[in-house]
Amino acid sequence: MTRTLRLFRQAIAALLSNPLRSFLMMIGIVIGVASLTTVICIAQGTRARIMEMVAKQGWDLIMIRAGGAKQVFAPTTDRTIASLVEADEQAIENSVGNIRYISSVQNQRGWEVINGATSVKTRIFGVGPTWHQIRRRPVEKGEFIAEGDLVNMARVAVLGFRTAKLLFGGTDPVGQTIRIGKDAFQVKGVFAEAGITPGGDDWDDRIVLPLTTTARRLFGRPYLEQIVVQVRNPRALPRTVDEITKLLRERHAIRPGAEDDFFVRGPQDVKEAALATSSTLTTLLIALSAIALVAGGVVIMNLMLISVSQRAREIGLRRTAGARQRDILVQFLFEALAVTLAGGFLGAAAGVIAATLLARTGVATSALTWLPFAMSIVACSVVALGFGLYPARKASRVDPAVALRK
């Protein structure tokens, strides 16, 4: 056994011989590291969910919204911003490269849809024939709206999974007739179940119609809420965004320096905006954890200083037995390190448990990675060395001749 190892054993023995003091030294660190670990687990979980969400939407998706306001998720209210029209879609398709599919989108909430004695209130979308490919919404039964339906302003509808369930129960809706407003519509297809998006959008609660039908028969307006684009080459997507922006500014006669009356964003923007929101909160919580750790460090320093004066004779005795100043220093640093690392281990375990419980209750998402453990070890070592050094130096400078004086 080397001298360092022997000193470490002395440190452990000293800690075990005074369990109450060791516990008090540990408690601040446990709390600090527990909150740090919880925050990191949840931040990592949120990050993973954002990445998953963006990946689900596709890295090839560009969204053009009417109005200049920067909104990351779907708007919560219907807007009547008259800045985007179908002609914009045509212009983009004709003069911007790298476009695979493009579709105009209109939507309105609160439409009553009736099947016999059953009725539901839902949101109606008017879209083009490639919309389901752009937004990756597979049709489970029947088929999607076709080019011809737009030409004819056809009274056909594709139902969201739950809307179909509510209106038709167990029977197959495809080919059946429903009423929207005054008109009768034929059900052409039913979407596969999709669930609720992180933005709070319920993809299963809606009806999708041909854009021409909504524009001319139901909503009675040419203005669009959105144009969605799927690019051919996702790597060239930023350039495509720039080209679309330039084209629309020209078409909308926006003077240089004036703000856009539309908002173009790619998947990167979604990701960054979502991450920025979560990282602000994360930074704040990490700062709070750091404060708890510093408080824990101050407690450690105080208890160690008390311990140094209580143990002056022990230190003096060790010096007479041949301990060098740095042996005493190392033993006290080991005590600080062992106590904080033990506290850090307990805290990390508590933090992981807390994060997992929070994820279970659905309050947050949690991910278990090596990061909180690595950060805890680093944070504990920094606290131990930072706050343990002064008392340890004080211990090493105890004059044995004074300490052992009768």
């Binding site: 022997r6 022990e314 060790r318 037995a321 301990a323 060098r324 042996d327 001749a401 052992l404 009768k406």
Partner: protein, 246 residues
Amino acid sequence: MIEVENLTKQYAKGAVVTVVLAGVSFRVAKGEFVAIMGASGAGKSTLMNILGGLDTPTSGTYRLDGLDLARAGDDELSRVRNTKIGFVFQQFYLLDRIDAVTNVMLPFIYADGNADGAALAGKALAAVGLGGRARHRPSELSGGEQQRVAIARALVTDPVLLLADEPTGNLDTRNGLEVLAIFQRLHREGRTLIVVTHDRAVADHASRLIVLNDGRVSADEPVAQPRDAEAGLRRLEAEAAAGGPA
């Protein structure tokens, strides 16, 4: 083996300089049993601290076993304390939370080798008559037994010098005589011992007496007829058998 030459120690506190040792010189040969006496304030403690490598002199030389320690740094002094000097204190200074044998093993924590000294510690305890008490904690031992554990700890590294500071000060007569008997046995075995004391009866068990007065050696002479601690113990027992002293 020990050469002390014109040793001085002064403490400066602001403009006031206190002279504690004002030029102390003596030599101790290997195997001597020396008592150092003096009134309080005579410089005994300071001299003992310097001899023990716990302090360094302001000037003068101090050689122990061929090493010049007057200017040595912490590392060298620590090594000397670890390998060449065994300390015995008035208040024993055992660590309460560990048993006797672990207390005796203490110097091996700071030794260079990788041995934990368990075997040597066992032997050292047996040599002071406590072989059966190795697993007892200090609180479970009498004062005399505690001091014998401390002596075992001082001897476990086989030091060239045993340095004792009022070793019988906290003991009753019988236990004090037992400690002195151990010292006299060590002396017969060739160990070098220095005992610092203010008690003439203790000093009379040594073979040489150095008296300090105001930081100087005022007397340095052999003890004409050292008292025999074993004989003292036998006398005590005889008195006890006779129903105690009248």
